[in-house]
């Protein structure tokens, strides 16, 4: 026996290697530089154009389609639902099929009082697996979709079909809005810090939702309210900002409140809010009128996250406590944060959503 007798077969395979050779080599392609400069920056006073602005703005660095819903079933059990699509640009220029300019990722969640189901998915641009188009309105990523079903005369976002599926859950929702789009800040130009970082930011907070959530225990028919945020920018946070706390509240009076505080490293905060009256008249509320004060924290994912807050807005005589429906609503994903439904009590009652980012591991903050 010799090691070498196998070597003889080399010949046969050398031929096969050559004959079966290497497929075609094509021509050169016009790739794009990874130049990160050259993105557009939000400017105040620029009018929105719809439905075009419902679609992606690839010349801005980041953008999202962010939907949260407060739902309940026939037995009165409360649920939270989240569907979020993020776009992140690698370059302000258009990409090619295999050299994409855009990256897409999405988060979906269903929250019950005791469980919190999450899922994420990710896709590169160019291959048709993710994107947002205006006409017809369609936002999709790997089988999750937000599909416009509005009549041509209505706003494209006024009627939606919403789908997502994770390992343990899936949902299929119909959304119909009974109010107009709402623009935050200065007509949709939303300032995010004292130094002037800003984004374009508008919402559709008037959705009525109906649909089915599939959970490990079986399907549940649910209905409730939903809130869609649209936001894009190239520079959302300034360098010393460590995170934010964001709320969207549906008050029983029919009024709605969107508010956030951006936390600075030195402990100070920058706040901004929009009071949306039941008549849909929107009042922008600049820093520092909204106050958000943590009342108690929950240990989750090694962090101390405030899940009970006192929220006050003196000019609207609002002094409420918001309580997480499920304090453990931690989005344990590649980008981790807390997001879940809340109950509102105090001078006003109602329901809403809370999002908190930037709470470091094992910090009492």
């Amino acid at each position: 026996m010799r090691t070498s007798w196998n070597r003889i077969i080399v010949v046969a395979t050398a031929i096969i290697a050559i004959l079966g050779a290497v497929q075609a080599l094509g021509q050169g392609f016009s790739g794009l530089g990874g130049d990160a400069e050259g993105f557009s920056v939000p400017e105040p006073g620029k009018p929105f154009v719809f439905p075009r602005d419902h679609a992606a703005h690839n010349d801005y660095r980041i953008e999202w389609w962010y939907l949260t819903a407060n739902l309940s079933d026939a037995d009165g059990n409360r649920y939270g639902l989240q569907w979020t699509l993020f776009r992140s640009a690698l370059t302000p220029e258009a990409g090619t099929r295999f050299s994409p300019g855009q990256m897409w990722f999405a988060h979906a969640a269903v929250t019950t009082a005791s469980k919190h189901f999450t899922s994420e998915t990710i896709a590169r641009g160019g291959l048709g697996t993710a994107g947002v188009t205006a006409e017809p309105f369609k936002a999709w990523i790997n089988g999750w979709e937000m599909l416009g079903q509005a009549k041509p005369s209505d706003d494209a976002l006024s009627r939606l079909r919403l789908k997502a599926s994770g390992g343990e859950f899936s949902y299929d929702m119909e959304l119909v809005s009974d109010g107009p789009l709402v623009f935050h800040g200065d007509g949709g130009y939303s300032v995010k810090s004292e130094t002037g970082q800003a984004s374009y930011y508008y919402s559709q907070p008037f959705y009525k939702v109906r649909g089915t959530i599939n959970l490990p225990d079986g399907p549940v028919e649910v209905s409730g309210n939903a809130w869609l945020d649209r936001e894009w920018s190239s520079q959302p946070l300034s360098a010393d900002q460590t995170g934010w706390d964001w709320i969207s509240l549906h008050l029983d009076t029919g009024d709605k409140l969107m508010g956030f505080q951006l936390r600075n490293a030195d402990g100070s905060v920058y706040t901004s809010a929009s009071w949306i009256g039941a008549d849909s008249v929107t009042e922008p509320i600049p820093d520092p009128h909204l106050k958000m004060e943590p009342l108690s924290r929950t240990a989750v994912a090694g962090r101390q996250v405030p899940t009970r807050w006192r929220v006050t807005l003196p000019r609207r005589n609002l002094d409420v406590t918001i309580d997480a429906v499920n304090p453990k609503a931690w989005m344990d994903l590649s980008i981790a944060y807390w997001e879940g439904p809340v109950a509102v009590s105090g001078t006003h009652s109602g329901i809403g959503y809370l999002e908190m980012t930037g709470y470091p591991v094992s910090a009492a903050n």
Binding site: A24, L127, G143
Partner: protein, 813 residues
Amino acid sequence: MIDLRVISVLLSHWRKHPFQLAMLLTGLFLASGLWTGVEAINTEARASYALAEAALAPPRFASIVSARTRTIPVETYTRLQTSGWRTSPIFEKRVRLRDRYIRVIGVDVLTYPAQDVFQDVTSQESVQGFLTRLIGKTGTLFADAPTAAFLTRNGVAGEILTSNSLPPKTVLGDFSALARLLPGSEADISGSGFSRLIVLENQPRDQVPLREFADVILAEPEDQAGTAELTDSFHLNLTAFGFLSFLVGLFVVYGIIALSFEQRRIVFRTLRLLGVSRRQLIASLSIELLVLATIGGILGVIGGYFLAALLLPDVAATLESLYRANVSGSLTFRWQWLVSGIAITLLGTALASASGFVETARSSILEEGGAYASRTRLFRLSRLQAILALALLATFAVLVVFGQGLVAGFAALACLLIGFALALPSLLNWIIAGVSTFARGPLAEWFLADARFVLPGLSVALMALLMAASANIGVSTMVGSFRTTFIDWLDKRLAAEVYLSTRSTDEAIAINEWLKPRVDAVLPIMNERVRLSGEPGDMYGVADHATYRRDWPLKASTEDAWDRVFAGDGVLINEQLSLRYDLAVGDTLSIEGNHALEIVGIYPDYGNPAVEAMIGIDLFDSWYPDTPRRRFVVRVDPGRSDEIIRGLQEAFGLPDANIANQTEVKQLSQRIFERTFVVTAALNVLTLGVAVFALLTSLVILATYRLPQLAPLWAMGMTRVQMAWFELLRALVLALLTGLIAIPVGLLLGWVLLAVINVEAFGWRLPFQTDPRDWVLLIAYSVLAALLAAAYPTLRLAQVSPSTLLKQASDAH
């Protein structure tokens, strides 16, 4: 307690006999060196496979692959993704760069599951930084260190990072970064599609079932035969070779240890009489051998390292061509084979010294250690040996008849070789005894009787010679059979002058139009991935032409095989398919898609690990109407093939890699072939060298024994030179007899290699062809080996001083 003085006394033996010490260490060196060399090669190769698998798809991941072709269109990928499947697409291509093939792997860095490849970047960069650095035409590529250096040297610009988790000769990067290596890669992937889609963990609960996609199938991790499985037979073969060499080396060790025990009987007895306990003596001897074996083992490991380093580039080339396995051509020192080398040396030494220990443990203080005692022992031993030999040969027969699988094949080979080796002393004894009855004259009778007398002392060396010689004949037979069959097959199979692969269907049409007026024929080669007898394989469609009718080699066929193939009424299958599913001409082949055709012929298909079948092009088109015609064979006057190739390159810019010129391919094959035989010859010399060494050892040792027996002959008037001639002649006769016995053993070995091992390992059977000239050569080698081995002791005998002989003659009485 171990008394150092006892060890010192024992060691004094080696001081007095430095030659024996050198022999012992050399034996250990050879045994462990060859073993380690082979192990080192195996370990290196397996390490490369493991890396390759981890990089391409970690074993736990299933893949979605094309059910019919080799690629999945990008559109299908998009459809799967938007239907809820979460996958990571992979584009794989072998690319020729200068003189070597590089495997280029394009991935989506965002979803690629084996992220450790990118570790250097992910540890430094944010997610955004990672993406902008990896995606785009300047995106980072990853390769192992030699490949990275090779690519940079050959003008591949931009960042190429070294990754330890990539196999050799592989470069990996985002799809967008491949353009640096493959101009036009974007169009390439768009045109051909992805090689496969890795099914990621955490699939969503709602997804469209895969069966609703017509062209794709799920390949579970266990369906995807890994390189390690494919190459198992190759490595088993190497291990068997290493083990054989180890055995031959061990025979030397056995001889020396036996001798050293024998010569030290008096010393042992004296030590015992001085109060050294039996246990102490055994312990001291064990320590002595442990130290010697460790030294020999370490030397062997070092030698094995160099042997492996020498052979590895060739072995790597073989593995690459055979299995497309990328094995590093350079050796990394690994502790595993140092440990395994020393361990097997110690184990071997323990085996080789076992009988010596048993004897020493049994012997009583009062017993006189004499020649008689030792000869009775030898007799007992030889009887035991003969029984063992018969048992092994019987096992061989059983294994050949009933055994299944490669391991059984190799076990049969081991039984055959060791069985005949053990039987050799008895065989030689009978032969000499038989010849003795015809011997006339005292000198002839003495010569033969004396030959039988020295046989036990030489038997170990002769056994080693027999093993080396028969292995030699066996392998030459197989190599010879292969050479004849293969070259003939190559000529017929590569009948066409030029082989083309175009880059798109449009280009294929244009090239076809261009070629038609210039050449004799342009024949399409088309294939589809289908299950044949349930196993994934390839179906080829061929056009009616003399290239097939006249030239295509068939092993078995019906009279009208080609008529029926082109009439769409019969199928040809490759030998692998025929052997694997026991299909013969006249049987029916079941083909995926509810097709069935009668098998009208079987063709040899050397070098192909997969099953394959062939039908006429009309039937092929009706079954697989969507298969693009992109590959062609061109028939043209051989003198004009260069001109046609130049024309194609000028008119279409077709890259070198897409054109194969038959003469070049054949020349390349011949070159690799010849290079193979160089290695074969080197290894033959090596094994025979070990055997010669064993013979030399035995003869030198024998010479020290012989003087008391030769002295009386000298006293009776024989000259020293005459005595020396007789000694030489005896060695030559014994070697000649061993060589003669090696012929049938070797042929049997060759038959097992061709009819059992090859069929199991590769799925083809070569016709048995043997060349008697090889045998003559081998016998000449054996005799030459004996001559070389006997030269030194004979020369010494011729020069031994009369006073020594006188002293020996008187001692003998």
